[in-house]
Symmetry: C2
Subunit: 223 residues, 2 copies
Amino acid sequence: MTINVAIADDQKLFRKGMIALVNSFDDVKIIFEAENGKQLVDLLQAESEEIHIILLDLSMPEMNGLEALKIIKQSHPNIGVIILTIHEAEHHILSTIQAGANGYLAKNAEPEEVEKSIREVFKNDFYFTLPMLEIMRKGLIKKPQAASLDENESLLTPREKEVLQLICKQFSSAEIAEKLFLSNRTVEGHRNNLLLKTGSRNTAGLVLYALKHKLIEVDHFSN
Amino acid sequence: MTINVAIADDQKLFRKGMIALVNSFDDVKIIFEAENGKQLVDLLQAESEEIHIILLDLSMPEMNGLEALKIIKQSHPNIGVIILTIHEAEHHILSTIQAGANGYLAKNAEPEEVEKSIREVFKNDFYFTLPMLEIMRKGLIKKPQAASLDENESLLTPREKEVLQLICKQFSSAEIAEKLFLSNRTVEGHRNNLLLKTGSRNTAGLVLYALKHKLIEVDHFSN
DNA sequence: AGGTAACCAGGTATTTTTACCTAGTTTGTT
DNA sequence: AACAAACTAGGTAAAAATACCTGGTTACCT
């Protein structure tokens, strides 16, 4: 079976080179080419042949690769998209993966890797190199940094955390005191310690601290 | 060349079955087995043969797979670890990837997939199935709810948003007034309107509102 | 030309928070 | 037994936030 490939890249020479290279692979055929994202999307709509793989450059005029990727993934979720790029910036990689990219290929990659990536994406739906997986890992670690930060949580005593959580629920010190059967002054004391320990200037800082250290979740609140 | 594999799983029957299966593959050999994470780590230290792949169960007594994984990745970063599990919960997948897992294999997978995953991890250092990639993507996506909530943002005027952002940066009304060349009373007026419009009871509520409506980002703050 | 919304700003009063103190009790640890 | 840490709670004051008013200006829309 033949793998049908489309390519989008604004650099004509590079594009033509890639077309020649890809067509030299067994059972792999370039169906059409585009020189920007807009054209790619249009040609894809018009194309009658089924496209399996798209080689997509990120930096293109008119409509860049990321925008095109998002559109394509909506209309043709089954097409495997391999990002072609010189950029190795984490940001690019992460945002393309979020958008649904199936693979990533450096423009200075070996010809063998091009072939491999196409076949892998066709077969397994994705192809990522090891350094990329590392970047993905880093990207994943960013959000649930709870693990790295909840050591600091131990900076706060259980009672302080409890008070902090109630502060984040928009209760005043007096209300918190009532809830916890404490004196207002005690709660104010905890509050002061919280400000000191977290290095915050006021309630706003406390809420942000609580969020950063996963003591509360944004979604839990009603407004 | 032979791929040397170790396996850790507390269920003896399953473990023995996997050993038989894996040994049936060409040029793949089980070197040793462990029935919990602790034993795996110990045996790995003692082993003289080079281990290429570890098949690792997550739920094990004594020391679970995740803990073992972290330890192993520190001492033997080049060993490819494939997680064996019945769990398909996102949480497990994400935390194992963060810990450096090289692949993921459902316990009800086809025997062919077991072989494939071992060879892929050995060759490419990782093997993930499509649904897993989807989960990784979801984990990478920061806050896709933005679209649903930023309609409400128009509830606040530009000036109000500006004031709100400064409130979240822990500035007092007086400081905000100074920054924006306004009277303190004006800022207090904006503050009042913010409380009214957002339905908050105090500053804590304002910060949470700002977060929910993506007017600020948690990561941007220092404490 | 009138209406509306955003923006600015003042008055007055109360509540809440923040700052800087001290100090007793309990609990757990060495 | 001594010690530290957590929890409790009080005093005093200043600063800030909240509540409820009023009113003026500008800009934009119809």
